[in-house]
Amino acid sequence: MNMDFHERYPIDEVGVTERVDRLNRRSIKKESKLSGLKLALSMIDHTTLEGSDSPGKVIQLCSKARTPFAPMPDLPTLAAVCVYPTMVPVAVKALEGSGVHVASVATAFPSGLAPLSVKLEDTKYAVEHGATEIDMVISRGKFLSGEFQYVFDEIAQIKEACGLAHLKVILETGELQTLENVRKASILAMMAGADFIKTSTGKVQPAATQPVTLVMLEAIRDFHQSTGKKIGMKPAGGIRKAKQALQYLVMVHETLGLDWLHKDMFRFGASSLTNDILMQIVKQTDGVYQSSAYFSND
């Protein structure tokens, strides 16, 4: 299969929903559940993207990412902390030596409606201040009006500006609306140099959904088949429960396989997911649910 984002790739929405429904019937129990929960925990991009963010808030978030639950020191750390560019220096300092990555949104997040030069500056600022991962947004207006080459070139230039930092390309699937658009944007982004493709900013509803994620995972699989390159996936927004996280992992496993069941290849963009996973891990270990008051709200 040759990759060409201009080529139409029909997708039947009813069929996608049915496939998701079948995947969700996998029953994840006992040791599989506990391992899946820990794995999901290790894949979280712990996120705060508010206009009200301050160094204090970011430091709290970083502390949670380093030590998700003090009574269980053997739990994995979260994968990254995801913040706005001006918060990057704070996060870098707070996470020093922890192995937790600092991810920064850039490119006039969340709308992306700024000139390319501003987006490039935005990106470079974050990278220069120590962000090792950049979450960019595509120009959805250009995409929807058919200017695919513009969107492609923009991603390619941002990628160059990233240098060694990993580039996650946010498609904002809630605005692309159709699954065929999601497929096309996924292939386009991967061809243009994305290291990860990501569903949403979290600022538009619907954010991540399972049908959208499945279509993106299938695009990643076909891209790998065709080019040999392994691209990562990040659903973001709306994933709040441990059970949902396990359902996503089942989807990743049965679409892409073991190689993608790792934080280097799959991330959850979420803020409240962490505590639900922690509660479930404690339940799996101790056999009883704990009060949410035992878990810090950072």
Partner: protein, 492 residues
């Protein structure tokens, strides 16, 4: 002191997760008797024959219960009971008949978990299917025909309907309780009484259903369930007081029934074998079509008369489609039917497994390329790996004959007309599937494929409102919908 953190994820986490720990459905609530007699005139009786047969669990070859073998005399008693009951049943206000059917539907829903588990233990099908497909459809069928019971004059405006009388019904082992529902619900709604014979390897849910009939106050004799093998079925077909035969099973037996009842005036409906073609055009939604192929041939271990057993895929996409299909097959879970994660359970019987293996050997001997997604399957019980045959042609035995197992043949085509010609080049005509993004191709296939059922961009979907049945050697008569009432009424 440096806080303890920076844990890198342990690589075995992913491996432990993806093995999906066993998640078996509990059998603690299931109470099966040691032996089941014949359900005649509202009570269980010992068979006159004095003979009993074993009902085995095909997943572990253990004995579930002993089941009576009905002799000719037993058949006669059941038909007599049904005849006596039919006169009252016909005269009962139609609304009351409807109520009985509604009660059956509700009791089936109430006991759906128990029925699902027994269906999976006795027949080998995965609990995911018996729980989500079989038993919900059983209830839906009774609900649907309950509604028709007092509306027959609207079903056939300006005509007077009378019931046929006592119906002899013989059902197969692939969907035991669902086939019972397809047969009994329309018959009773139209005022008939029935003598039903389940398949010899899968009688148990029918016998639990007999208990449900008593709980639902079905008048004695309206539903009679006699178990046994071929001789029992033959006695039922030959009985002179049977007015209609409804049969689902093989084409060979269907032909025998037609001969046996020729000249007797008995009505009949036959739902027989199939070798459905599933056509993938190059403009199809390929990822969803892969899932459709999985549902078409690996649903119920391929023990489906309307299975899409022949895959016809356009040459331009055949390579990528097959790669996707093989990848999907590698994630099917073959094993314990009671595990909630099992996709493919046990083959129904040792003899059926033997038959499938013979066909696989014939396919290899005729030069086909075989792909099996699972190198090993459980050794205890009757299991078969999902199997693909490529490099086959229309003249191969595995393409021509119904295998009734998880075996798919793959042929390619270049043009739509070539696909339709191949699809129709079979003595069967039960089902077909077409996958394309283009409506006109769907309409063309719909008018040219000779099959009773055609699915577009989906496969193996069933609903009580939709008639089901075959053309050519796949049978006569329709079950389901308004059409499903015709075999059970005389019109004046």
């Amino acid at each position: 002191m440096k806080p303890k953190s920076s844990q890198t994820p342990d690589p075995s986490m992913a491996e432990t997760f993806l093995k999906y720990a066993a998640a078996p459905e509990s059998t603690r609530q299931i109470r099966l008797r040691d032996q089941y007699g014949l359900f005649i005139d509202g009570t269980f009786r010992k068979p006159e024959s004095g003979q009993w047969m074993d009902s085995l669990n095909p997943a572990n070859e253990s004995l579930l219960a002993k089941v009576a073998v009905a002799s000719e005399q037993d058949v006669h008693r059941a038909v007599q009971a049904a005849g006596k009951a039919q006169k009252k049943w016909q005269k009962m206000p139609a609304r009351e008949r409807g109520k009985v059917l509604y009660r059956l539907a509700r009791l089936i829903q109430e006991r759906s978990r128990e029925l699902s588990v027994i269906e999976s233990m006795d027949g080998g099908k995965p609990i995911r299917e018996s729980r989500d497909v079989d038993i919900p459809l059983v209830a839906a069928w009774f609900f649907y025909y309950a509604g028709w019971a007092d509306k027959l004059q609207y079903a056939f405006p300006g005509r007077e309907t009378t019931p046929v009388g006592v119906c002899g019904q013989i059902i197969p082992w692939n969907f035991p309780l669902l086939m019972l529902a397809w047969k009994i619900a329309p018959a009773l709604a139209a005022g008939n009484t029935v003598v039903l014979k389940p398949a010899e390897t899968t009688s148990l849910t029918a016998l639990v259903f007999a208990d449900i009939c008593r709980d639902a106050d079905v008048p004695p004799g309206v539903i009679n369930i006699i178990t046994g093998a071929a001789a029992t079925g033959q006695a039922l077909v030959h009985h002179p007081e049977i007015k209609k035969i409804a049969f689902t099973g093989s084409t060979a037996v269907g032909k025998w029934i037609q001969k046996a009842i020729a000249g007797t005036g008995k009505k009949y409906s036959l739902e027989l074998g199939g070798k459905g073609a599933n056509i993938i055009f190059e403009d199809a939604p390929l990822d969803q079509a892969v899932e459709g192929v999985i549902n078409a041939i690996f649903f119920n271990q391929g023990h489906v008369c309307c299975a899409g057993a022949r895959l016809l895929v356009q040459e331009s996409v055949s390579e990528s489609f097959l790669r996707k299909l093989k990848h999907r097959m590698s994630h099917l879970i073959v094993g314990d039917p009671l595990d909630k994660n099992t996709d493919i359970g046990a083959i129904n019987s040792a003899s059926q497994l033997q038959r499938i293996k013979e066909y696989i050997n014939i396919g290899l001997a005729e030069g086909a390329q075989m792909y099996q997604s699972h190198e090993t399957v459980p050794s205890k019980g009757y299991f078969c790996s999902p199997t693909l045959f490529t490099d086959v042609s229309q003249s191969n035995t595995v393409v021509q004959e119904e295998i009734f197992g998880p075996v798919l043949t793959v042929q390619t085509f270049r043009t739509p007309s070539e696909a339709l010609e191949k699809a129709n080049n079979t003595p069967y005509g039960l089902s077909g599937g077409v996958w394309t993004d283009k409506g006109s191709k769907i309409f063309q296939a719909g008018s040219e494929i000779q099959a009773g059922v055609l699915w577009s961009n989906t496969f193996n979907k069933f609903d009580p409102t939709s008639p089901f049945g075959g053309v050519k050697e796949s049978g006569v008569g329709r079950e389901g919908g308004l059409h499903g009432l015709y075999p059970y009424i005389n019109l004046r």
